[in-house]
């Protein structure tokens, strides 16, 4: 039986339209040549697909927030993979591909996301945006310039930035600089299971409104991985 109040009573309030506070969650995803090796890009696509229900559950705990997802892919160029802020309930993942010849122009990706960290387009009532960088290598362009530009934007500086390195070639110094917060550690994924676990950890921590812990979660030990990056 439906709730009779759903259709029976017109409860009006002073003021205009009410809304929960937007929480922008943006993936910055490495699609450089090295990501085409050892199934890394496939593992990344799989991980994001598996994440969606976890993210939805975490967001449900954050009663004052409306989570909006976007994604940037960067290789020789940086571009929006999901340009429109998308509600979690409507979020569908289209697989990324990696060009074997492509470079790692992370600086361009930071400049691209920095444009969205201005006010407007972001509103002063937004919650701090979450930027999650996933990369397996070293930037090949002006990373520091992009970083400075990002931090010079009001919401860029105020954003929560997290990073996950894939494999032993991931450049820790870059990933740490991206976070720019000594309390938060870089997560290092050396196999597909760890990647899934870390991506789940960072996304659910941010979306549920909890403080992001520096304690690194242990990857699930369900089955020994056949792939080591």
């Amino acid at each position: 039986m439906g709730n009779p109040l759903d259709t029976g009573i017109n409860l009006r309030r002073p003021g205009g339209v009410m809304a929960k506070r937007p929480l922008h969650f943006i993936w910055l995803l490495d699609c450089s040549g090295s990501m085409s090796l050892n199934g890394k890009i496939d593992a990344l696509n799989t991980a994001i697909r598996e994440l969606i229900p976890h993210m939805q559950r975490a967001a449900a705990q954050n009663s004052g927030a409306e989570v909006l997802i976007r994604a940037i892919r960067f290789s020789t160029a940086a571009q929006w993979h999901i340009a429109q802020p998308t509600l979690l309930s409507e979020f569908r993942w289209t697989d990324l591909t990696a060009d074997p010849e492509a470079r790692t122009n992370l600086g361009a990706a930071l400049r691209l996301v920095a444009e969205e960290m201005k006010m407007p387009p972001l509103s002063p009532r937004s919650l701090p945006p979450a930027l999650v960088l996933i990369s397996d290598g070293r930037p090949t362009d002006d990373f520091e310039g992009g970083m400075q530009y990002l931090l010079s934007q009001p919401w860029g500086k105020a954003s929560t930035r997290l990073s996950i390195g894939i494999g032993t070639d991931a450049h820790q110094k870059t990933l740490k600089r991206f976070i720019d917060n000594p309390e938060i550690h870089v997560l290092q994924a050396d196999n597909p299971e760890a990647l899934v676990e870390y991506m789940r950890f960072v996304s659910t921590s941010v979306l549920s409104g909890r403080k992001v812990s520096s304690v690194v979660p242990q990857p699930a030990q369900t089955a020994p991985s056949s792939v080591i990056w």
Partner: protein, 412 residues
């Protein structure tokens, strides 16, 4: 110089609502509200103070900090009004008001120190600061105990001659004129984004106060609205939020301030639930003649929207309880009717099996079809249909009437 403002009267109402996310997270309401009026219940002077205790774990006594802040502010502003109540020279007033932030901070600091001396920190209060990454926050409290009490503060004083507005941190003070036009008298602070705010607990906090003096008060506002940031953050945009000025003025004009006061808990609870999830505290300082009968109307078209659709939380819950009661009664009646219908069907089948129906109603053309073994076996439900029963003598159970259905139950 005596102004027209001196003759008018002010009333103050307010309400504080524990946030939806605070309820979920088992956190207290960390906001506080205080106001002062003369014994007559009407200002001037009228004083309203609202504070928002910070939510981060290191501010574990922020609810107390907020209470102490509004108490300190109210008593200080009352003393200020007594000393400078008839002052209307803007320059002189600004000189005096410029001193207020430091005195507010000093009074709050003294109150907090006294509270801490009487209630030293207990180890369990640090329970939310146990993780390794909380070491800095824990050290921050140890080095500066005021941090545990951190809060914002918004203060309004209206006398017969002037109005003073002071604010540290986020939250909103709105000036609503007689047409419903709503503006902020206090300058904005661009640093207040991403849940970051200036605070009473910071070093030299008085430097972060923003303030405004309106003197002389030739054109006093109809309403002055003061709220913690949980209210503005519940709206899609700032323009949507500012519409509350027009709307509260409408409600006050059509239903009086008491009606507004009765509705406030429901309105604020609803805002937190549908919006920010944060504590919402809201005060209204109201110019009596601006809402009296015959007061000038607000923006065209908006008056007709006022009142009729508003219900308070208490009214809402009472109505909901009544509707649920109606539904339960309707369900009970429906269940009874279903049993009667089933009983009638069984009796009809038994009657048909013994050929009683054919003997009693030989002239009816439909009867032979009903007693036909094939028809009866294949479609037994027809046996009890109204067409086969004299309505005058044996009314079969009727289908549930519209008034008894769950769907239309609430209408009764």
């Amino acid at each position: 110089m005596e102004t027209a403002a001196r003759k008018i009267q002010w009333q103050v109402i307010g309400e504080s609502c524990r946030g939806a996310s605070h309820i979920k997270g088992n956190l207290p309401n960390q906001d506080a509200l205080s106001f002062w009026l003369p014994e007559s219940g009407f200002g001037p002077p009228a004083i309203l103070a609202i504070a928002d205790g910070h939510g981060s774990p290191q501010h574990f006594r922020s609810a107390s900090g907020a209470k102490l802040a509004v108490q300190a502010a109210t008593s200080l502003l009352l003393a200020f009004a007594k000393m400078h109540g008839t002052q209307s020279d803007a320059n002189s007033l600004r000189t005096e008001v410029a001193e207020l932030p430091q005195r507010v901070v000093e009074n709050w600091t003294a109150s907090v120190s006294a509270h801490l001396a009487a209630n030293p920190f207990r180890e369990e209060e640090f329970s939310r600061l146990q993780d390794p990454q909380d070491a800095d926050a824990r050290a921050e409290v140890t080095n500066n105990p005021l941090v545990a009490y951190g809060a914002t503060l918004l203060i309004v004083l209206v006398t017969g001659y002037y109005a003073v507005f002071l604010q540290i941190g986020d939250g909103d003070i709105l000036w609503v004129d007689d047409t419903g036009k709503t503006v902020r008298p206090v300058p904005a602070d661009a640093r207040l984004i991403a849940n970051q705010t200036t605070s009473l607990c910071q070093s030299e906090a008085w430097k972060d106060f923003r303030w405004h003096v309106e003197a002389p008060l030739h054109h006093p506002p109809a309403l002055i609205l003061v709220s913690t940031d949980g209210y503005a953050n519940s709206f899609r945009s700032d323009d949507d939020f500012l519409l509350i000025g027009r709307d509260f003025l409408n409600i006050a004009r059509t239903g009086g301030l008491q009606k507004v006061s009765a509705q406030l808990p429901g309105i604020l609870h609803d805002a937190s639930e549908k919006g920010s999830g944060d504590d919402v505290t809201f005060g209204i300082m109201c110019r009596q003649d601006a809402i009296a009968a015959g007061a000038e109307g607000v923006a065209a078209g908006s008056e007709e929207e006022a009142m009729a659709g508003y219900v308070s939380k208490a009214e809402y819950e009472s109505l909901r309880a009544k509707l649920d009661e109606h539904l339960r009664a309707a369900e009970h009646r429906l269940s009874l009717l279903q049993w009667l219908l089933a009983l009638a069907l069984i009796l009809s089948v038994i009657s048909l099996a013994f050929g009683i129906g054919a003997r009693y109603y030989p002239a009816r053309p439909a009867a032979p079809a009903i007693i036909s073994p094939n028809t009866g076996a294949e479609n037994p439900s027809q046996a009890g249909s109204p067409a086969n029963t004299p309505p005058q003598r044996r009314d079969p159970p009727q289908p549930a009437q519209p008034g008894a259905s769950p769907k239309s139950g609430p209408g009764h």
